[in-house]
Structure formats: C-alpha cells, structure tokens
C-alpha cells in the first residue's frame, strides 16, 4: 500500500551545473524529472532520500534537435508524449516513436521522460516491495526460489539477480546504436547504449552506468539507422500501463529484397536489453521467407535458462523474432 511520502528537501535548480553541485554536496540526493518511477519508491517508503533534486525544469535538458550526421539529439527530460508526437522522430526513427507510444498510459507518457524511461529501475515485485535481496544490498534472491512468483523474470545472463529491464524504449536505444551523453564529475562523457545498460555481474545494485552525481543530459541517435525498416512489438498482459513480458525491436536495411543489415533487440528477458546477435548473423544477407523464419526460431532463444514460471517467454520470444523477420518480406 502506498502512503504519504516522507519529508524531504526539494531543490529545483535551473541549470545542469546547479543540479550537479547539489548532487556533489548531498550524499543521498535523489534525482527526479517526471518522477513516475521515484514517487512509487517514496510512497512505498522503500527509498527515503532526505534531498530530492528535480531536474524537470531545466530548459537545456528538454527538446529534440537535428544533428549534423542526419541523426537526432533528444534531451533527457523530453516527455515521452513529445517523443511520440515529434515529426522528426516519426520521420527518422519511427521505431522509437512506436516504442514510446506503448509505454504505460497516456497520463504517464505526458509526464514521464525519455531519460527516465530508459534509466528506470527494475519492476521485480520482491525488490520493489522492499525485500532485502541482492539488488537491495542483501544476500539472497527472493524471485529465484521454487515457489517464487517469477513469470516476469529473466531467461538470460542471470547473476544472482533475475530481474529484467522493464523499459520499452531502452531496446530501441540499443537497436539504434544510440549514445548517452552524461555529465559526470564536471565533464560531459558519451557512453554507447550497449554499455549504458549494465547487468548484475557488473553492479547488482543499479541498472545503468549512471553513478551517484551523474546526470543523463540526452541521447544522441546516429544517422546510420535513420529511415530504416522497422518492427516493434510488445507482448504484455494488458495493453495499457503494463510492462512488457517480452518485446522485440528491430531496424533493418534492405537491398534488392535481401536483408543488408539488421539490428534486433529483445526486451524483458534479461537485466539489460538483449541484442540478438545470433539472429542478426543468421538473417543478414538472406531473403526473408519461411525457411529463414524457422532458423530464426531455432536461434532466437538459444541459451535461455527459464525459471519455474517463465518458460512461456521462450516461445514468445522466438515468435516475436520470427514475426519481425516476416515483416521484412
């Protein structure tokens, strides 16, 4: 049950530098923008920072611009609705517009930000409920036991923690080879999406490369994948509000009916968006047909290690990958 939030000091700096200074000063400062993820934590009283820094009002962090290489730069606090409706995104990266349009509900998309969506914490019900699990700094996993409710959990790359990435747009970032621009220790660094999302073997207590004091400034989408063929499908229990059980995100370039280049990423099966490199290798250069689809089904979920209640994700994942390939025919 949710509750009135604990008391905290709220800061609303009007510049990135102001926000960074506050984060340096206060050890337990917590950053919010749309706050759709954070207020849940606060109301459940699982996380109670004494200082909250609201970066949602910083003008330089919001907006969508064209870049010189034909790509786009999306400010971290641009709302999901703005991403969905942006003519630039629709024209160059319809996959991102589509993925963002499937996030949660209209009201959440109107307030939630793209930076927050990709950086949100996992939705593992045990972790969210305040269980002292590995991810919360404890020494056990409550989801990976014979009786645990783990139908939402991971198939791949489990290392103690079996939580999955809940984001719908994070797989699109990996598929599009996006780069995250981060203000870290006074300088701006760029981190490729494939390294931005981190699994439990790197650090079990966080989902992204962001460390305390870092601020995600924006996302750089390279021109390489602009205007490519695309496919996005999200399988969830409900059409609205729900997180993906499995989602598939694909961009592809075609040449004479054959797949010239392809990037396919699967969400909801691993702690990070899972790039299906084996599928990509199988279909690159092929003309999509039913034989290729059969091959895709064979390799899509190779290496999966299901838990007690999430076996269904394996055929789901195989089917979604096959359907993505079929859409290119």
């Amino acid at each position: 049950m949710s509750d009135v939030m604990h008391n905290f000091e709220l800061y609303q700096p009007d510049s990135v530098q102001g926000a960074a200074d506050l984060l340096d000063e206060f050890e337990d400062a917590w950053v919010i923008a749309g706050a759709k993820d954070s207020l849940g934590w606060f109301k459940d009283r699982v996380i109670q920072p004494s200082v909250v820094v609201d970066i949602g009002g910083i003008a330089e962090l919001s907006g969508i611009e064209e870049t010189d290489d034909g790509g786009l730069y999306i400010g971290a606090t641009t709302t999901l609705t703005d991403v969905v409706e942006s003519p630039l995104v629709k024209e160059r990266y319809p996959i991102l517009s589509l993925a963002a349009s499937k996030v949660a509900s209209p009201q959440i998309r109107n307030a939630g930000t793209i930076g927050g969506n990709i950086s949100q914490d996992t939705r593992c019900v045990y972790y969210r409920s305040g269980f002292p699990c590995y991810r919360a700094g404890g020494n056990t996993c409550y989801a990976n036991t014979p009786t645990a409710m783990n139908r939402d959990h991971a198939l791949f790359e489990v290392s103690r923690c079996v939580a999955v990435t809940p984001s719908d747009t994070a797989p699109a970032m990996v598929a599009l080879d996006a780069t995250m621009v981060i203000r870290s220790k006074g300088e701006d660094i760029e981190v490729p999406a494939s390294e931005y999302f981190i699994g439990p073997e790197i650090d079990i207590t966080r989902m992204t490369a962001l460390e305390h004091g870092d601020i995600l400034l924006g996302i750089r989408l390279p021109g390489a994948w602009a205007n490519a063929r695309h496919y996005f499908e999200k399988a969830a229990d409900r059409n609205t509000w729900d997180f993906a059980l499995v989602s598939i995100t694909m961009v592809a370039k075609m040449a004479g009916g054959a797949i010239e280049d392809v990037s396919m990423v699967c969400g909801g099966v691993q702690c990070t968006p899972r790039k299906l490199t084996e599928v990509e290798d199988v279909i690159r250069g092929e003309v999509p047909n039913s034989d290729v689809e059969t091959l895709v089904r064979r390799v899509a979920s190779r290496g999966a290690q299901p838990l007690n209640f999430n076996h269904f994700k394996i055929p789901l994942m195989e089917s979604l990958a096959a359907r993505a390939v079929r859409s290119l025919a």
Partner: protein, 226 residues
C-alpha cells in the same frame, strides 16, 4: 424548482422560508443558513476541518523549518481552473492533495495513489496527468484544469459530461471525474477522434464497474456534438 420528475441531488435546494414558517413562530432556528445548500455546507465543513487539522498534522508539524534557502519556497502560486491561488505547499506534496485538501476541489478523486487508476486525472497545459503522482511544486506556471473547471461558469455541462449522463456512463461514479477530464482533453486536442484514438486516450483511466464501452460511446457522442 420543478417538483415533478426524479430526485436530482445535483440541484441546489431552493431558498425557502419553509423552516421558520413551519415552526409557526420562529422558535426553531434553522441549523444552517438557508441560502447554503446542504452539499456546499458539508463541503465547507469537511474541507475547512481537513485543511486546518489534517494538513497541519500531515505536513507542517512534521516538516522542520526550511534549513536551506536554495530549496523550494513553500508559498507558491498555482493556476487552477483559471484562478491563481496562493498556497502553502510542502515539498513532498502531490497535486492531488493540494487541489483536494488545500483548495477544496474535491471533484478530483485519489484512487490508487500510485499512478495506475486515473481517478485523479487533471489537465496541465492541456495534457492529462495523474495528480496523485505529480509534485505540486513541479506545476509552477502550469495551467491546471480539474473536473470543476470543465463545465461553463453558468453551470452548462460540457458536451462530454452531458454525453456521459446520456450514455449512463457512471455507475458508482468514482472514476468519472478522471474520465471526464481525459475525454475533454482528447476532444480539445483532437475534435474528431476515431474510436481507436478515443480508446487509447481513455486507456489511462480504470473503471471498476466496467463501464468502458459507455464512456467510449459518451466520448464519441460528444465528439459528434462539439
């Protein structure tokens, strides 16, 4: 007031000499001013009690004095339904709390209080948001419209509200304020939505009575009339 027809609780009681006359000599004093409707009298009692008692318990006494001048100023201006209100808002206060318990706009309902159900939906700069999961301080400078601001000043219902009545959309009615705001926001942005667009726009509002089709028909009916 027309005495025939079904009982309508939304109509205010007429001013009346009734009680004094019935008492026959003025010994019995009316228990409330006669020009105040029962609904508004109760609303006043409830709201003032909660603001004076509840809010100070929840926020003020438990919040230490502002230690850092760089933090947000508690006193803020909030533009709600076209009026600017000056309110004292705690840093951890949500918009849903502010409009209900500080401004007395109790049409906005707090259902799940975790951004799932949509009963608390209000508009900020024309876009729907969950007021239960929005910090009020984030709303500085925004134009907020709650369900109280939907009907026109003379009480004429918005076409969406009228259509919901005509289509028998509300059953228990708890989700209705949120449904109204979501429907109006849709028609403001897109006066001719397809049924699919309306379905998506209303998808952030749960109705435990399951009257989704009624609400959808109401929005489509209003769209034809707007």
């Amino acid at each position: 007031m027309d005495s025939s027809g079904p009982y309508d609780p939304t109509l205010d009681y007429p001013e009346g000499p009734a009680i004094a006359e019935i008492a026959g000599g003025g010994d019995i004093k009316p228990w409330r001013p006669l020009h105040v409707s029962r609904r508004n009298f109760l609303r006043g009692v409830v709201c003032s009690g909660i603001v004076v008692g509840g809010a100070s318990y929840l926020f003020s006494t438990a919040t230490p004095a502002r230690a850092d001048a760089r933090g947000v100023e508690r006193m803020m201006s909030l533009m709600v339904n076209g009026k600017t209100h000056h309110v004292d808002v705690a840093p951890n206060e949500t918009l849903g709390y502010t409009v209900r318990y500080r401004l007395g706009l109790t049409g906005t309902k707090i259902g799940c209080n975790q951004a799932e159900c949509g009963a608390c939906t209000v508009m900020a700069d024309g876009r729907t948001i969950y007021s239960c999961s929005t910090l009020t301080h984030r709303m500085r400078g925004k134009d907020i419209v709650t369900v109280e601001g939907i009907a026109s000043a003379d009480g004429t219902l918005h076409p969406v509200q009228q259509a919901f009545i005509d289509e028998l959309a509300p059953q228990c009615g708890f989700c209705t304020p949120g449904q109204v705001v979501a429907g109006v926001a849709l028609l403001n942005a897109n006066p001719n939505p397809t049924e699919e667009e309306a379905r998506v726009a209303m998808s952030g509002n749960l109705c435990r009575c399951g009257a989704y089709e009624h609400y959808l028909r109401g929005v489509m009916k209003a769209a034809r009339e707007v």
